[in-house]
């Protein structure tokens, strides 16, 4: 017998009966409930689904030339409905099928969040002649075509709880796009902060969004733009590269957050400039690094693999493939070249969307784009967009996800 004895009712025996009766009580509750058909989706899930679609079908509403080598594509939701509201600065990952290759590229949404209600996002695609996708888009996309993309992604957006009231945005070339979105968002009262964009271009003629930037600045006293020309010296423009001094000059004495978006070379240059400012990490935020195209220039690269081709064994949802993989390109690119459809979004090692199991072999992962979770390192999980084969390799890759009920 236990040493303590409690009862709740007056008679312990009845308490016990009550215990024994629990199934009866439960059955009674079940019996009393209606047999109306069960609801297959709840309102919160509906809201979430509309806000976080896995993919969106667009139709190209128009394409506008923007500066000498950029085009702005106006995407309209195919069913005419509203698009998910995004945080200005976010991007979409656009599916680009080219021949048998199924690849994706990220483009910042450069229009106002207000247009999302009308089912419209703008993206701007700058031509990079050495690239695979941007010339293809520029030469092939036309009005009326269907485009499939992810929902809004990414973390380069203003967070009032975290960021300083003033943001100094450092933009290079097409890196202006997230800040266009932010400028419109401020103008249209979706965001509330001071935005000073220091915008680097080669020449005055090469400036994208010149007119639009001028217009937003005129319409809204919280947005300022400083143009910096690297290849031209002109009155009314700063000259050279974006430097610590320039940031100091326009950042002022108070607290400010730096947001950066531009080519990798710009980040590499700015890293040392920004270091001179002695800012805390929280005040320096950068857009995705982008896919690394020169792994051999990254610290730790095993020089002997450069130029070699390995066998890549891919397991994907019950199917298996053997494909060639160049040590100069990521495992993701190898899969795409071979016509496999794999999950991809940021292509910078950051978002984890391409999280896969390394079954065997060695890979090289540049430190700059190593966004793995700690336990992944113990258990051999990798992000294939930022892993380069260093031997024959076998991986288990997830499917590209689709929306379901």
């Amino acid at each position: 017998m236990p040493e303590v004895n409690y009862k709740v009712g007056l008679i312990g025996k009845l308490d016990m009966l009550k215990f024994k009766n629990m199934p009866k009580v439960r059955n009674a509750a079940i019996d009393a409930s209606p047999s109306t058909p069960l609801k297959g989706i709840e309102p919160t899930n509906e809201k979430a689904k509309a806000h976080h679609p896995k993919q969106i079908e667009f139709v190209i509403d128009d394409i506008l030339q923007n500066g000498p080598d950029a085009k702005t594509v106006i995407l309209k939701k195919k069913d005419g409905e509203r698009l998910p509201l995004f945080r200005a600065g976010q991007y979409i990952s656009v599916d680009v099928p080219i021949g048998t290759t199924h690849t994706t590229r990220s483009y910042s949404i450069c229009s106002s969040p207000a247009l999302a209600k009308e089912g419209i996002y703008h993206i701007t695609v700058k031509r990079d002649d050495a690239g695979f996708v941007s010339p293809y888009i520029q030469d092939n996309w036309k009005k009326g075509d269907t485009v499939i993309a992810s929902g809004p992604q990414g973390h380069l957006y203003y967070e009032p709880i975290r960021d300083a009231k003033k943001v100094v945005a450092l933009a290079g070339g097409s890196g202006i796009t997230p800040f266009m979105g932010m400028a419109y968002a401020i103008r249209d009262s979706y965001e509330d902060f001071d935005l000073t964009v220091i915008f680097g271009s080669r020449t005055e003629d090469a400036i994208v969004y010149r007119k639009e930037l001028d217009e937003v600045c005129a319409a809204c006293d919280k947005v300022h733009v400083v143009h910096v020309l690297s290849d031209e010296e002109k009155e009314g423009f700063e000259h050279g590269f974006i430097s610590a001094d320039l940031i100091r000059k326009y950042g002022g004495d108070g607290e400010f957050s730096i947001f950066m978006c531009g080519p990798q070379a710009m980040y590499n240059f700015l890293d040392s400039e920004i270091a001179k400012l002695g800012l805390r990490k929280k005040f320096v935020r950068r857009e995705l690094f982008g896919a690394i195209k020169d792994p051999w220039n990254q610290p730790g690269y095993p020089e002997e693999i450069r130029g070699r081709t390995f066998n890549l064994h891919v397991v994907q949802c019950g199917k298996e493939y053997d494909i060639p993989a160049s040590a100069d390109e990521s495992l993701m690119v190898a899969c795409e070249r071979a016509g496999l459809v794999v999950p991809s979004r940021c292509r910078s090692g950051e978002c984890g969307w391409c999280h896969s199991k390394l079954l065997s072999g060695d890979v090289f992962i540049p430190e700059k784009t190593d966004g793995r979770r700690a336990a992944d390192l113990d258990y051999g999980y990798i992000h294939i967009c930022s892993s380069f084969p260093a031997s024959d390799v076998a991986i288990d890759v997830p499917a590209k996800p689709v929306d379901t009920q």
Partner: protein
């Protein structure tokens, strides 16, 4: 068509445990998961130099190096998962106003029965006996549970009456009634009830049996966290599954369950193809599965009624914060602090129905227990509140970001005020998860994390007592928070393990004809 002995739908804690158990028994098992990661709720994500724990505050039933809890036995001994972690030395600190509406409560309760009892006596002089008895009753409950398991649920009533009379007498009551019967001082009841939010049922409906069981386990075996977040635990289970021959398809959703002429499961249709199987262990929510994935004629009317009678439980709201100062520098010493407006859980539960009224919250600072949880000179704090209603369904998308931040600001302000600390200027990374976020990542109905409300008629004990009739569709069993033992890592793992064992014995019977 590929054929499997069993298919597990969903790789949350429940699904992972079920999958491990099946693979360990040598069964050809397929695990499918709609997301690209294992874990469901139990995961992690990275922002900048921080990795955030998505859910876990305290893992229950883990134990110490000398004394293994049942959950640890399953995961470490049985599944062979190698895990490193820290024991949480304190169960909780609670800062609130007593249910009398006046008395201020600020109490810190250490793990271990004796230290816990001593601390309670310090805060509420004269309560010692009732707390001691509470733990004695807890021990009795625990032994009754072990006995029941040892005889496979076929308990002998006379034996039960003789050895576990409190279990039988108190087991059907809510905690408020039993605490009163035990003559526990009201202030002590207020403190002892602190963990109600872990089950999201207020004291007037919260099963004394289930609650005591949970508190007893937390205090007796201590609480535990893995060093590298829940992702270490769930990836560890996934790897054990793979090692034993299990196959996994990620980014793959089950869309339809297939049945034969006898209304028994014969396969699953997924977004990555159709597979044949006679046994499904399902970690996806039963209501959703019955409604969307089964033809109506195979779903017994009783299941429709049962699920119409149930309410979803605990829609989560979490603010994840990475700070660029150490916990010490910021004066953060407590691991987990409960800060409801009032110790009156009935009132708090009501306030949890709307965004406007919900001022409840629990904070966790991981670095106070694991100093290496984030880079040197930084620390991670998460602020969590649960919603007992579906107000987030009323938020218009246009107001979503504003509502999110309004709620996050409320929690940050309260955290600073209640603990007398300043964290705002040091926020380097912040992410806010709402019930919408939960819907997106785990796809539970209404963004709930605890399955169905464990209140009164549908609490753990009656669910367990009726396990035999709980899964009437042949070949389809549900595991995880919505299953027989309710929410929590340990309970989800328990249900996965238990129902996989049940499936194994059914398979054996089938083989033997």
């Amino acid at each position: 068509m590929p054929k499997y002995d069993a298919v597990v739908i969903g790789a949350g804690n429940g699904g992972l445990a079920a999958a491990c158990r099946m693979a360990l028994a040598g069964k050809k098992t397929l695990l499918i998961e709609r997301h690209n990661l294992p874990g469901g709720c139990a995961s992690s994500f990275r922002r900048g130099r921080f990795e955030f724990e998505t859910a876990l505050h305290e893992l229950c039933e883990w134990g110490t190096a000398e004394k293994f809890g049942a959950c640890r036995q399953t995961v470490v001994d049985d599944f062979g998962v190698d895990l490193k972690g820290h024991i949480v030395p304190e169960n909780f600190r609670v800062i609130t106003t007593a249910s009398d509406g006046k008395t201020k409560i600020d109490a810190t309760l250490p793990c271990g029965q004796q230290p816990f009892i001593d601390a309670m006596e310090k805060y509420v002089p004269g309560c010692r006996k009732s707390i001691e008895d509470f733990f004695k009753i807890g021990t009795e409950f625990h032994e009754a549970g072990d006995y029941s398991l040892s005889v496979n649920g076929k308990t002998d009533p006379a034996y039960m009456q003789e050895h576990y009379p409190n279990f039988l007498r108190l087991g059907s009551y809510p905690i408020d009634k039993v605490f009163n019967a035990m003559k526990m001082p009201k202030l002590a009841q207020d403190i002892m009830g602190t963990y109600w939010g872990y089950l999201d049922v207020a004291a007037d409906k919260l099963s004394f049996l289930q609650y005591t069981n949970m508190v007893w386990l937390y205090v007796t075996y201590g609480a535990w966290i893995p060093d590298k977040t829940s992702h270490e635990l769930t990836t560890g289970m996934l790897e054990s599954f793979r090692k034993h021959g299990g196959e996994t398809w990620f980014n793959c959703s089950a869309t339809k369950i297939l049945f034969d002429d006898e209304k028994a499961v014969c396969g699953v249709e997924t977004t990555c193809g159709t597979v044949e199987t006679k046994h499904i262990l399902c970690n996806a929510n039963p209501t959703m599965v019955y409604a969307n994935m089964c033809p109506p004629e195979v779903v017994p009317e009783r299941m429709v009624k049962l699920h119409n009678a149930r309410e979803y439980s605990a829609r989560m709201f979490v603010v994840y914060i990475g700070l660029d100062k150490s916990a010490e520098e910021l004066g953060l010493h407590d691991y987990s602090v409960f800060m409801p407006e009032s110790a009156d859980s009935v009132r708090e539960y009501q306030s949890g129905k709307t965004i406007k009224d919900n001022y409840n919250m629990v904070s966790v600072c991981y670095n106070t227990v694991n100093p290496d949880f984030s880079p040197p000179g930084t620390c991670v704090v998460s602020l969590t509140t649960t919603f007992s209603g579906d107000d987030w369904a009323n938020v218009d998308e246009e107001d979503y970001f504003k509502t999110k931040n309004m709620m996050a600001n409320r929690l940050i302000d309260r955290f600073e005020e209640k603990l007398g600390v300043t964290i705002r200027p040091y926020i380097e990374e912040i992410e806010v998860a709402t019930p919408w976020t939960m819907c997106n990542f785990v796809n539970t109905p209404q963004g709930s994390a605890y399955g169905y409300e464990l209140s009164g008629w549908d609490s753990m004990m009656p669910r367990m007592m009726m396990m035999g009739t709980e899964f009437p569709v042949k070949g389809l069993k549900f595991v995880g928070a919505s299953s027989i033992r309710g929410d929590g890592y340990n309970s989800a793992i328990f249900s996965g393990n238990t129902l996989a064992r049940k499936t194994l014995s059914e398979m054996k019977e089938e083989e033997e004809g």
